[in-house]
C-alpha cells in the first residue's frame, strides 16, 4: 500500500495531491533559503498567520455577493491581501518604532490570527451553509483537491523558481552583506520586497496543502537541512529545493494511505526526519562528525603530550594517555617506554625543539603561524629550512 502511494498508484486524485505537494515543497525550500540566510525566517510565520482574517473576510464577501463562499481563487486572494497587510505592519513597526523585529512579529502574528479565528467563528453561525472546510486552512487538507488547484500550485512553483533564478545574485548579496549591496547600487528595499513577495506566493498557495500554522516549517526546515551539506549558498538553495520536494512528495503519499491524518503535519514530519538525519550524520557540520573529530584531536594531543613526557623522563598520570601509548605499542603496561616508544619520543622532542626555534625567529613568521602543537615540522618547512634550523640547535638533545 505504501509502495503504491510512493509510486503514484493510488488513483488520479492522490497522484494530483502528491505531485502538487512535491512542487510546493520545492518552491518553499528554495524561497525559504533566502529568508534563512537573511536571518528573517520568522517573518514568514507572521505572514502565514496573517492570512487567516483574509480567508474569512473573502468568504463573507463572496457569500454576500451571492457566489460560492468556498471558491479557492477568491479565498487565496483574500489571504494574500491580508498577509501583505500583516507584512507591512511588521515592516512599519520595525522601521518606525523602537520595537525589534521579533516583538513586531509576535504582535502581528497573534493579533491577525486572533482576528481570523473570531471571523471564522462568526461564519460558523451564519445561515449560508457550505462553510465547512474553511478550518482546513489551519492544518491543510488535500481531500478535495481539484485539477485546477494542482495547476495553480504548479504555476506558482514555476514562478517562484524563475524569480529566484533571476534574482539569485542580489538575494545572496543582500543576505551576506546588506551594506555592501546597498553601496554598490542594489536597492535593498527592492530586493527585500522581492524576497517577501516570493515567500508570500508560497505561503498563500501552500495554505490549502500544509495549512497556515505549519507553512513556516516548509520554508525553514529544508534550508537548515541543506546547510549541513554544503558551504556554498547556491548549493544550499538547490539542496533545500530537493529536500522540500522530497518532503512534500513522501508526506503527501503517506497521508494518501492514511486519510485520517492531516497532510500538512505529515509533510512537516518527513522534512523533520531529513533534518534530523542531516543534523546527526552530515560530514563536517553534523553532530556525529564533530564528536568524532573532537575525539580524534583529543587523542592526538594525548599521544603528543605522553611522548614529550617520556622524552623528558616524566611520569604519565592520565589514564587515557597511558592507554593510548600502550595500545600503540609505545610503552609497556608498567609505563616504561619500548624501543619504538623511545624513538617516537625522541622524534617528538626534536620536533618541539625545532618548532621553538622557528617560533622565536621573525623570518619564519608564516611557518610559525601554523604551530598547533601537533603538526610535524616537516610538513611546514622545506629540507633546506630544516637544516638551517637544526644548525641552531646548540647542544645535542639528551633522550631518556
Amino acid at each position: 500500500m505504501w509502495a503504491d502511494a510512493l509510486l503514484l498508484q493510488l488513483g488520479y486524485n492522490a497522484t494530483l495531491v502528491t505531485l502538487g505537494a512535491a512542487l510546493l515543497g520545492m518552491a518553499a525550500g528554495v524561497a525559504g533559503t533566502f529568508l534563512f540566510l537573511r536571518k528573517r525566517a520568522l517573518v514568514s510565520d507572521a505572514i502565514s498567520h496573517a492570512t487567516l482574517p483574509g480567508v474569512g473576510l473573502a468568504f463573507v464577501v463572496m457569500v454576500a455577493l451571492g457566489g460560492d463562499g468556498r471558491a479557492l481563487p477568491g479565498l487565496l486572494l483574500g489571504a494574500a491581501l491580508s498577509a501583505a497587510l500583516g507584512l507591512l505592519c511588521v515592516q512599519w513597526l520595525t522601521a518606525r518604532t523602537r520595537l525589534g523585529e521579533d516583538a513586531a512579529i509576535g504582535a502581528v502574528l497573534s493579533v491577525f490570527f486572533g482576528l481570523g479565528v473570531v471571523i471564522l467563528t462568526v461564519i460558523q453561525t451564519m445561515n449560508t451553509g457550505r462553510q465547512a472546510g474553511l478550518e482546513g486552512f489551519l492544518l491543510g487538507s488535500t481531500a478535495g483537491m481539484l485539477r485546477g488547484d494542482a495547476i495553480l500550485l504548479a504555476a506558482s512553483a514555476a514562478l517562484v523558481l524563475a524569480l529566484v533564478v533571476l534574482l539569485r545574485r542580489p538575494l545572496t548579496l543582500a543576505a551576506f552583506d546588506p551594506g555592501y549591496a546597498q553601496a554598490t547600487g542594489w536597492s535593498l528595499a527592492r530586493v527585500d520586497l522581492a524576497m517577501m513577495g516570493v515567500v508570500l506566493v508560497v505561503t498563500v498557495v501552500g495554505l490549502k496543502v500544509v495549512g497556515l500554522i505549519l507553512i513556516v516549517a516548509l520554508l525553514i526546515v529544508p534550508a537548515v537541512t541543506a546547510r549541513f551539506w554544503t558551504e556554498r549558498a547556491d548549493r544550499v538553495v538547490w539542496i533545500a529545493g530537493a529536500v522540500g520536494g522530497v518532503s512534500g512528495y513522501v508526506g503527501a503519499a503517506l497521508s494518501a494511505v492514511a486519510p485520517a491524518l492531516p497532510t500538512g503535519p505529515i509533510i512537516v514530519l518527513v522534512g523533520f526526519g531529513l533534518f534530523l538525519a542531516s543534523l546527526l550524520f552530515s560530514p563536517g557540520r553534523g553532530v556525529l562528525a564533530s564528536v568524532l573529530m573532537h575525539r580524534r584531536y583529543q587523542r592526538r594531543v594525548h599521544m603528543r603530550q605522553g611522548l614529550l613526557a617520556l622524552a623528558q623522563g616524566q611520569p604519565i598520570f592520565e589514564a587515557l594517555t597511558r592507554r593510548l601509548l600502550h595500545r600503540a605499542g609505545l610503552i609497556l603496561p608498567d609505563g616504561v617506554a619500548t624501543a619504538e616508544g623511545q624513538a617516537a619520543a625522541a622524534k617528538a622532542l626534536l620536533d618541539e625543539t625545532r618548532w621553538s626555534i622557528v617560533r622565536r625567529d621573525q623570518s619564519f613568521a608564516v611557518a610559525a603561524s601554523r604551530y598547533d602543537g601537533l603538526t610535524p615540522i616537516e610538513d611546514v618547512l622545506t629540507q633546506d629550512q630544516l637544516r638551517a634550523v637544526d644548525a641552531r640547535i646548540d647542544a645535542p638533545q639528551v633522550v631518556a
Partner: protein, 266 residues
C-alpha cells in the same frame, strides 16, 4: 579681504567639487534626536589617499555610510565628479567593517570576490573563465590565492580583511572607500593592505579610509579629514595634521588616543 577675492575662493571650491570623486555637502545624519554627524562638507581630492580621523563616536563610519547611501541622511548632498552618486555607483568600491557580516555564511573566498563583479555580470550573465581568472588575480594582489576555495569562516581576521579588499579590487572602481581596514588585523596584513592601496593611488585611483592609528597617518595618507561630529579641519596631512588641530578634534582624549591607538577604533 575684498569681495572679489571671496568670489574667487567660492569659484575655486566649486571647481574642486566638480573634479572631486567624492564631494559631500551639508551632510547630517542623526540616530534619534542627536546628530551623529552635523553639516559635514568634505571634498576628497582625486588621485589621493584621504584618512578620516577622529575620536570614538565622532561619526567616521556614519560619514562613509551616509555618503554611499548605506544609511539615509537627514540632509545634505553627495556627488561624484559633479554627478549624483546614484549615476556613478559602478565606479565606487566599498569595503565595509569586517565585523558587519556573518562569517559563517555559506560562501567561499572566491565567491566573495566574484560578488565584486555582480554589477558587471548583471542578473543573468554567466561567470566565465575570464571572470574567475580576474578574481584570482585580485586574490593574488592581496596574497590570498591559496585560500580561494576555503569557507570564509575558516579565515583569520586579517585574511578576512584581505578578501574584502580583493572583492573591492574586482570592482575595478575609481573610488575606493574603506571602513576601518586596519582594525584588528595582523602587522603583515596591514603592510599588504597599505601596499595595495598605495598602488591604487599610484594608478590614479582615489582612496578614502576611516583610520584610527594617529601614528601612521603621515606615513600612509596624503590628506586627512579631522572629524568630531563636525569637520574640525581637512586638507593635506602636512598642513592639517597639527598638534593644535588634533587637540581641537580629540580634546582631553588626545593623550589616550596616542598611548593606545586601538582605543580610538569605532
Amino acid at each position: 579681504m575684498t569681495l572679489a577675492l571671496v568670489q574667487d575662493d567660492a569659484k575655486l571650491t566649486e571647481a574642486a567639487r566638480m573634479a572631486s570623486p567624492l564631494a559631500v555637502r551639508g551632510l547630517t545624519v542623526s540616530y534619534g534626536q542627536t546628530p551623529a554627524i552635523f553639516s559635514v562638507d568634505v571634498t576628497v581630492r582625486a588621485g589621493a589617499m584621504t584618512a578620516i580621523v577622529g575620536p570614538n563616536g565622532a561619526g567616521k563610519s556614519t560619514l562613509l555610510k551616509a555618503a554611499l547611501g548605506v544609511i539615509t541622511p537627514l540632509a545634505g548632498t553627495v556627488a561624484m565628479l559633479g554627478q549624483p552618486l546614484d549615476r556613478m555607483r559602478d565606479r565606487i568600491a566599498y569595503v565595509p567593517q569586517r565585523a558587519s557580516v556573518d562569517w559563517d555564511f555559506p560562501t567561499r573566498v572566491i565567491d566573495v570576490v566574484l560578488m565584486g563583479m555582480y554589477r558587471q555580470l548583471g542578473l543573468l550573465g554567466r561567470v566565465r573563465a575570464t571572470h574567475r581568472a580576474q578574481a584570482m588575480a585580485c586574490l593574488d594582489r592581496v596574497g590570498m590565492t591559496d585560500f580561494a576555495t576555503r569557507q570564509i569562516g575558516q579565515l583569520s581576521g586579517g585574511q578576512q580583511q584581505r578578501v574584502f579588499l580583493a572583492r573591492a579590487l574586482a570592482q575595478e572602481a575609481d573610488l575606493y572607500v574603506l571602513d576601518e581596514p586596519f582594525a584588528g588585523v595582523d602587522a603583515a596584513t596591514e603592510k599588504a593592505i597599505i601596499a595595495v592601496l598605495k598602488s591604487l593611488r599610484d594608478a590614479g585611483r582615489t582612496v578614502v579610509a576611516v583610520h584610527h592609528d594617529l601614528a601612521t597617518v603621515p606615513d600612509y595618507f596624503d590628506d586627512v579629514v579631522l572629524l568630531n561630529t563636525q569637520v574640525v579641519a581637512a586638507g593635506p596631512v602636512a598642513h592639517v595634521f597639527t598638534e593644535d588641530n588634533l587637540q581641537a578634534t580629540y580634546g582631553g582624549r588626545l593623550t589616550t588616543a596616542r598611548a593606545d591607538p586601538e582605543s580610538v577604533a569605532g
